[in-house]
Symmetry: C2
Subunit: 172 residues, 2 copies
Amino acid sequence: MAPTPIQENLVTSNQTYASSFKDGHLALPPAKKYAVVTCMDARIDPAAAYGISLGDAHVIRNAGGNARDALRSLVISEQLLGTQEILLIKHTGCGMLTFKNEDAAGLVRKNLGEEAVGELAAFAGDFQPFAELDEAVKTDVAFLKASKLIPETVTISGWVYEVETGKVRSVV
Amino acid sequence: MAPTPIQENLVTSNQTYASSFKDGHLALPPAKKYAVVTCMDARIDPAAAYGISLGDAHVIRNAGGNARDALRSLVISEQLLGTQEILLIKHTGCGMLTFKNEDAAGLVRKNLGEEAVGELAAFAGDFQPFAELDEAVKTDVAFLKASKLIPETVTISGWVYEVETGKVRSVV
């Protein structure tokens, strides 16, 4: 099958990147021993906006910068790869502020049918939307602090990134 | 509490980033209508290595670049934000190649106790390790293609990123 424009862009951009690549020596465990949980949002470039150099930190991204979704990855990050700090960073203008579970399920039913609705059980039908940004940051940090899977020695802080200004502010 | 060095780095680096930020106009839906699923590994900078400009694509990252973990985010990406293509990119030297579920559960038991082991139920005790890289890419692409939650109109391709060379190669 002919490559799509998006696949062509991946290949072409990557050739340029690889041609000057000099970081093949970096070790598997993050050098600065921390993990960032943030949103998949297209307007966020974590390396640039959060000052993460190559090799320094695990970067976990999902819809909403959701802590529950990140739990498996965080346990691996800490228990197997030695990270000791978590930055949880949600953002303004997040898509998760714009809908409720029943809206998303309704779209799935309308566009993909009942069989697809059944598959939502894979994540308990919970898309993890939220109604208030700072509150959601606090809730997620509290969830991680309460989890026995994250030892108390791990420092956890919560932040908001503003897609309008590029600025990060501390929440908790 | 005094900020940690990692929190200080976030704040300081971000001040520099925000001081020349000019992308506050970007829209919520990804301009190029695609989503990338890749690993949280510290040695991967998706924007640079995969040629993703700010605003163009959702970037979902977790331990292993795992499709199952990414499902909630992908449904939101497609049903609510209009993406129509998925690039799934795993990588050489992945931590997920280095352990089995029982190893990880054993570490949790030893370091965090039985109560923590109980919490592994949140992800069915499955850390999603894999034994063979290209095979894992194929399995994950097949999983997404089989899911009724991803319409057949969505183009899905699978790739491997080489952390030693910075190169991407096509798998499926």
